[in-house]
């Protein structure tokens, strides 16, 4: 089969227009998304989840969400109300953000808190490395001892209730 010049030109035009339309449609998609980002940056399409409690942000492992709260004025040292079916046996208790980050084994949250103002002063805070040991998280325990000046393993007291190391650490009895 032979194709005459006009038919060939028309076919080339069809291919070109088809390719351009395919690419332009995708580019228009970018334009729509970026315009929406500019108009509504808090849309769930662009913004991360917003946390209203440091405890929730730490438990979710959302280090940016936790830092956003610190930036907004939340103290990295004030006790926070925490609650978890296993760790606190569904009771609401007060713990420091650092203790909660260790209890929930959120390594990045621990490092963020240490970098951005968390002080290790109370007995509970000094014993967070022991809590990490009790939870079987040797890496986190080593990190806390290396960067946090927390208790070495030999100075850790045995928890009153080995099945509830967090409650033991913060002195809450069943």
């Amino acid at each position: 089969m032979t194709v005459d010049h006009a038919e060939s030109q028309w076919r080339q035009h069809v291919i070109a227009v088809g390719m351009l339309v395919a690419m332009v449609v995708l580019v228009l998609g970018v334009v729509v998304v970026e315009t929406e980002r500019w108009r509504n940056p808090r849309s769930p399409l662009f913004a991360d989840r917003t946390f209203y409690s440091l405890a929730d942000a730490i438990q979710a492992g959302d280090v940016e969400g936790a830092f956003a709260l610190l930036r907004a004025g939340t103290s990295p040292n004030d006790p926070i109300e925490v609650r978890d079916p296993v760790l606190t046996r569904s009771r609401s208790v007060l713990a420091s953000p650092l203790v909660w980050a260790v209890a929930t084994e959120r390594r990045n949250a621990v490092l963020m808190l240490l970098a951005h103002g968390a002080r290790i002063e109370s007995d509970a805070d000094k014993a967070v490395s022991c809590l990490a040991d009790e939870l079987g998280n040797a890496d986190l325990a080593a990190l806390l001892r290396k960067y946090g000046n927390t208790l070495p393993r030999e100075r850790c007291a045995a928890p009153r209730d080995p099945t509830a190391p967090l409650l033991s650490l913060i002195g809450v009895r069943d």
């Binding site: 080339q12 069809v14 390719m19 395919a22 332009v24 995708l26 970018v30 980002r37 990045n108 960067y147």
Partner: protein
Amino acid sequence: MRISPAESGSKWTAAVLLIVAPVLVTLLVTLWRTPYPVTEAVALFEDVARVGSPARFWVPDTSYYRPLFHSTLWAIWHADSSLDTKLALVKVVHIAPIVLLVVVFVSTVRPRNAREAAAAALATAVLLGSPGLRDNLEIPLSYTAMAMPITVIVWMLMNQARRVWHTTAIVALVLVAIGFKEQGLILIPIVVAAWWMRASGASRSTAVALVTIGVAYVAIRLLWRAKWPLFEQSIGLGFSIVEASDATARFGAFPYFVFAYNSASTIANVLFSEPTSGLFYTIRDIVFNQIQAWRIINLVSSIALTGAIAWWGVSSLKASRGGWTDEARLFVALVIALLCCGILSFDYSRDRLGGMAVVFYALAAFHAVRALAVRLSLASRPLFVSGAVALLTLAAAWEIRAVGTIEWTRRYAHRNEIEWLVELVPRRAEFADRSVYLEIMERMIPQGTQPGAPNPTHYPDWIARTMVPPQ
């Protein structure tokens, strides 16, 4: 009213730039708002802050030699300006070449009709969607990003009518490219080959000058060869990573097989988007039935385009028996660029090390797609229809990859932001004896933690997975 070919070229060039603009501008804005990483950036700034003169960077006593890059950083760092201004200027050094690359690239292909505009738009998507470019977008590592637009300009000059100033301009540009990164060296064999292939803008004097520079460069670098480790970084081998120390122990006695593997990996990455850093992720995913859409799109679109380029290249060579054509020269330049990128990445393979060849790959894509459209227009109707659908799909796939580059960049930005939140404590301890490092790091914390850093778009899964791996 008749439109001259020049006017027509300008019109279609503008049209292609208009198509590219949303992706390019979004990419640039993303880069501009990206926080510097703790890793790499602080140490780089420490290097330039500690020395009173950039002369230190011109002594090639390490395996990495980027004197012009470091001198540029030094000049910015030691200027009488605020930290914010210095950091902004370093970003400009990184971002400006990317704008220049795209604009010069589109101007070089200079489409003159709709068919060429479609091919040019696809070729620009190839440029932006290739791992070789994407991996060079990491701020502030603008080494290859600077050399890539230079490559396009040098190629453009060599294919223009010869002018008196061409030799000086080409030599100066090649020196800048080499000064920013060793990969700039690939321009030397390309210029020599262009001269041998009688490219109109490539002269004997240019070729001789660059060969002299190349020989001198290699000789000077080899003077410090004894200080280089055998393996500088970890290497990907098949499905696993081998750390540099392990690689030295395993392959030290006869490293040439691994060198060849690394070189072939870099070349294959440009051509097929697989392997990545020597690792066959896509094949591994297929073997373990964990297929990711974005990997398949990358692999299939690269295979299809490389096939088209191979067909066009061989056809160009056959057509040039009576004398070299521009297209045959470009195909030879692509082959040389691939080989040289492979050779220069013998020690370890990374996507970014193929960046210089990506420029020629994208240029070749323009010609290959244009030629394919012509060829299809002459085919039987069933072949035309299936070929046209394949080309449309190819164009869409590469455009998705170009858009994906934005999302990858947002992920880099997000990773950098996380670094500023979690890496400070380990670094304060690790670099306690490096006061300059710590001072720079502490001063840079606000730029790393300020609100508004680029965030990956939370597309529905089915869209996100066409561009990036699941988070």
